[in-house]
């Protein structure tokens, strides 16, 4: 145990996800040894983050204005919506530079065991976005785990009532992996989604 504020700082860092007591101590001592100007900048950002960052009114992505930069960009394809669970997934897809449409962040996945049902996600807002008929395709990019698949199943059932094409991201073998280590479900999916190359 350290005295006063040092221990308080270690305790606060220790509450962050993925940071254990040793890491918290290391970060705290790093800050103690850092130039005061850098610490002041960090402190300023931490102070502002909660007031400056909002969730986009349209898609639910993180934004500094009422709408995010993607929703404001007129060059994006307005007829495509990619549905993801978290704002982190938007960044992952943007890194691919393959998708030029819009996003919709659900804010999680359906997980009845955790008390999260369809009403707890931004599904109603998605349906409102689709109401005017501009969007022709909805890409379901929820996580390829059980909750993500169940959410995609629920959404596809809901969206088939609208005149919109519903697609799901392909799943299969990871690039750079060995076939013998693939589990049965992944390998089965890879067979289902095989493509013609010759």
């Amino acid at each position: 145990m350290y005295e006063g504020i040092v221990q308080e700082l270690i305790d606060e860092f220790g509450r962050l996800p993925g940071i254990g007591p040793k890491s918290a101590q290391r970060i705290a001592f790093h800050i103690l040894q850092t130039e005061s100007v850098d610490v002041a900048r960090l402190s300023e950002i931490l102070g502002q983050i909660r007031t400056r960052v909002h969730f986009c009114e349209i898609c639910g992505n993180v934004a500094e204005q009422e709408t995010c930069s993607i929703c404001r960009d007129p060059r994006r394809n307005q007829t495509l919506i990619c549905v993801v669970e978290e704002a982190k997934d938007v960044v992952a897809i943007e890194r691919t530079r393959e998708f030029r449409g819009l996003y919709h962040v659900l804010g999680g996945a359906i997980s009845p065991i955790d008390g999260i049902g369809p009403d707890d996600l931004r599904i109603r807002q998605l349906m409102q976005r689709l109401a005017d008929g501009t969007v022709v395709e909805v890409i379901l990019a929820t996580d390829p785990n059980l909750e993500g698949e169940a959410t995609a199943t629920y959404l596809s059932r809901l969206l088939t009532t609208l005149k919109v094409k519903v697609t799901r991201l392909a799943s299969g073998l990871p690039v750079g992996g060995d076939l013998e280590y693939a589990d049965e479900i992944t390998l089965g999916r890879a067979f289902e989604g095989r493509t013609v190359i010759g």
Binding site: P112, I113, G115, E149, D183
Partner: protein
Amino acid sequence: MAIYRDEAVVLRTHKLGEADRICTLLTRNNGKVRAVAKGVRKVGSKFGARLEPFMVADIQFYEGRTLDTISQAETLGSYGAPIVADYALYTTATAMVEAADRLTETDPAQRQYLLLVGALRSLSRGEHSPTLTLDSYLLRALSIAGWAPSFQDCARCGRPGPHARVMVQVGGAVCSDCAPQGAAILDDATRELLIALLAGAWDLTEDVPEQVQKRASGIVAAYAQWHLDRSLRSLDHLDGSQAHTVAAVPQSTPPSVPEPKATA
């Protein structure tokens, strides 16, 4: 560190750190086990989908001080994919694994394991309606846990039935002498369905009217809620057509819990 191997069904998972998960598993011989699956959330994980909920796998663990660690897993029953392709099956299976999680501890629970695997298999194959499969599972899982209901003889005094009232607080059907004011009505069709579900007599559950199924489901939900102290959260999220609400049980006046009968 000791290494052990067991068959297990995955009940639920929690995220841990950057890429790991804590899996809660119901094993055949070691009861409920919580174990870490390292790197399972990475795209190239060697575990892949083998440690998703509803999967049955042959797993090698090595013991840790607080949590065990999963070192290998081979699929024995792949029920997740067909279940998750149907939303009603998914919500039903989730209620089953939540019940199994609440009814088991670290003591060996082979009968609970076999019952759950059988129920998930039946659900994934679409052998019976999801609602009936869940009701049967809950009644039988509660019975194995020591809370077997009685829908024929009086659950309080043992008088041979059939009886026209049910009181989940005392364990099932109650005779006219034992029934307190406000005890729910138990009609013949609902009683026969409940007895069939408890015994696993599936041929007697076919062609049962939907209203009867709803009343039976209401009684099962109330029975599970009473014995598990608090309700199963998954029951609130069952697909629209599946009624598992206590309100489905017809009651004349507000129920009151009877005092235990004095024994001579």
